[in-house]
Symmetry: C2
Subunit: 329 residues, 2 copies
Amino acid sequence: MSGKQGNPTMKEVAAEAGVSLGTVSKVINNIPVGEEYRKRVEEAARKLGYQVNNYARSLRTNRTNTIALILPNLNHPYFGAIANAVAVALNRRGYSMLTSISNSDDQGEQRCLALAMAHKVDGVIAMTYNPRLEVDPQLNFVTIDRFFNAGVPCVSCDNFGGGQMAAEKLIGLGCKRLMFMRSGTHIYGEPDKRIAGFEMACKQHGIPYDTLNLHESEGLAPFLAYLDAHIKEGKADFDGLFCNTDKLAIMMVGAIRARGCRVPEDVQVIGFDGIRDFATGSYYCSTIVQPVELIAETAVSSLFPQDSSEIKPLIALPVSYAFGGTTKA
Amino acid sequence: MSGKQGNPTMKEVAAEAGVSLGTVSKVINNIPVGEEYRKRVEEAARKLGYQVNNYARSLRTNRTNTIALILPNLNHPYFGAIANAVAVALNRRGYSMLTSISNSDDQGEQRCLALAMAHKVDGVIAMTYNPRLEVDPQLNFVTIDRFFNAGVPCVSCDNFGGGQMAAEKLIGLGCKRLMFMRSGTHIYGEPDKRIAGFEMACKQHGIPYDTLNLHESEGLAPFLAYLDAHIKEGKADFDGLFCNTDKLAIMMVGAIRARGCRVPEDVQVIGFDGIRDFATGSYYCSTIVQPVELIAETAVSSLFPQDSSEIKPLIALPVSYAFGGTTKA
DNA sequence: TTGTAAGCGTTATCAC
DNA sequence: GTGATAACGCTTACAA
C-alpha cells in the first residue's frame, strides 16, 4: 500500500468534515449532496490528501477499472505500438492497464491469464499464440491477431485485403512474376490470410507466383537457399516479392542485394506491418501498414459492450500501402 | 470482475470442503494445517476453480503485489526495452506491473502518479521529466534516469563514465578534434552528465572540442547549421562526434554524409543508448550501450528494501561500448 | 437530503 | 489445530 501507513481513509475525511461516511462517499462519487456538505467534504479531502482506495471500492462494486494486456514482449516495435495505443485508449476511458509479458510461451500465456484473473480485471486484451489456451468463457476477453472461436472477439487488420493489396501493388508496378515468403510462429493464425489474399489477387490477374511458407524455427536458411536458386548472376527469375512481415522483408532486401540484384529496379519488395525507424520515422521498406491505433481502440471498445451495439467475432480493420523505397515510385 | 458472477469465494470452498473459512485461508497461504484438511480444501478449490481475490486480500494485508511503471511512451525502443525488462524482473518476484503512459507531459506524469496511488501499488518506478513532480514522501518511489533528491533512489547508467568512454574511444581511434551534440527534453537531468564526462576526458587528453547543447524544441536545424558551417567542400574541421542519443547520432551521420563527408573515414560518430535494429539486431551506430536489464533489475530491487541492505540515492550502472559501423574498426 | 449499517472476500485474532 | 469473528475501506440500500 505504497508503504504509507497514514493514508487517509473516508472515515477520517468524514470526521474532519464533520459529516457521515456515506456523505463523503457520495461526494467522491459525484452523487448529489447539499452544497454546504459538498464543500466541507471537498475541503477536508484536499486537506488530508485523500485518495480513494480502488481496492476497497472494487471489492464492493465488483469492478476494478483495470484491464490486462497480455503480449509476447515489448521489444518489437509492433508490440510496443500496440501496448502504447491500448494504454492510451484505456486511459481515455478511465481504465488502467496491467501488462503481462508471455514470452510467446504457452505456459507463460496461461500464467499471464491466471494473474489477470486473480487481479479480477474487468477484461483482457491478448496477443496469444497458444491455440489451446484455457480461457474462462465468462471472461471478458478480446484477442488481437488471433482468432479463437466465435465466442471470443478478435480484432485484426484486414490481412486478406493486405495480401491482395500487396499483390496488386506489385502487379500495378509492372511485376510479371511474384514470390511470397512467410516466417511465423505458428502455421495457422489470422495473419496467415495474407497469403490467401495474395494468391487470390495473383490468380485474378493471371500472374504466376511462388510461395515459401515456413515456421520461424527453420530460420532464414530456406529463404536464402531459395534466393540462391533463383538469382543467377544478378538476375532473378521473379521481380516482385511480398513478405509477411517487415522484418522478413528487410532481411530479404539485404540478401537480394547481396546477390547482385537491385531493389527496387530488378526486384520490388513489399513487407507487412508498417514499422518505422525510431530515429527518422521513415519506413524500413515499402509495406502494408497496420492501423495500430485503430486496432487498439477497437480492441478496447470491444471490451465495453455499451460502446458497440453488437459484438462481432472477427473485426478486420483496413490497411494501407506505404512507400518505403523498396518498390518503384 | 471479469464479468463472472459465479466466481467461487473462499466461503464456498469452505462449504464444499466442509471446513471453516479460516482453514481455507490457511491452506491457500501455506500455513500449516492438518494433512487431511489440506487435502480436502485443495480438492474443493480445484473442483470449484477457486482463485484468490487479490483485491480483497490487499484490503486486508495492505499489500497489492503490484507496482506501477510510469514512462513517456512505449514507442521508443529504449522505453520498450525498459518496460519489458521491468515486467520480467517484477514477475520473477511475483509482482504485477501497472503501466501508465505520461506522454512526457507534466500533467500526465502527475495523473499517472495519482492513478498509481489510487491503485495502492506497493511502489512506483518512473521515468519522469517534471522536476516539480509532487510525490508523496511516503511513497515507495524509484526513478530511472532522473535524480530528484537524496530521498528518492535514482537508477541510471553511468552517464558520466559513458561520456568519458565515448571521448576516449574517439581519441583512441585517432580523432584530433571532437564535437558533442545534445538534444533533449530538459536542460538538467541524469543523462546530462554525459557531456561532463566527455569534456573531462577531452581536457585530460588535451584534445580540443566543441559542444552544442540544445533543447529538443529547437529541432535539428541548429545542428545542421553547425554542420554547414564546419564542413566545407566535404572537409570537416572535426573528426569525432559524440551525440547524447543514438537517435541524434543516426540523424547526424546522415547529415554528415549528405554534406560529402565520409563516416567513419573522415568523421567518426558515437551515439548513446545502444538501440538495435528490430529486424537484424544490429546497432544503428557505434554507441555507448545502456545495461537495460540491469537497470530494470536494479530499479525493481530498490523497491524492496530486503533485497538491498542499503538504499543508495543514486546508482550508476556500468555502460559498454559497441561498434556499429560509424567508427573505425 | 443525511446518517446508519450491512456486506464485498480476505486475513488474523481469538477462544475452543 | 480448527472454527467463529472482527476488521480492512468502500458502496448502497434503507432508515431517520
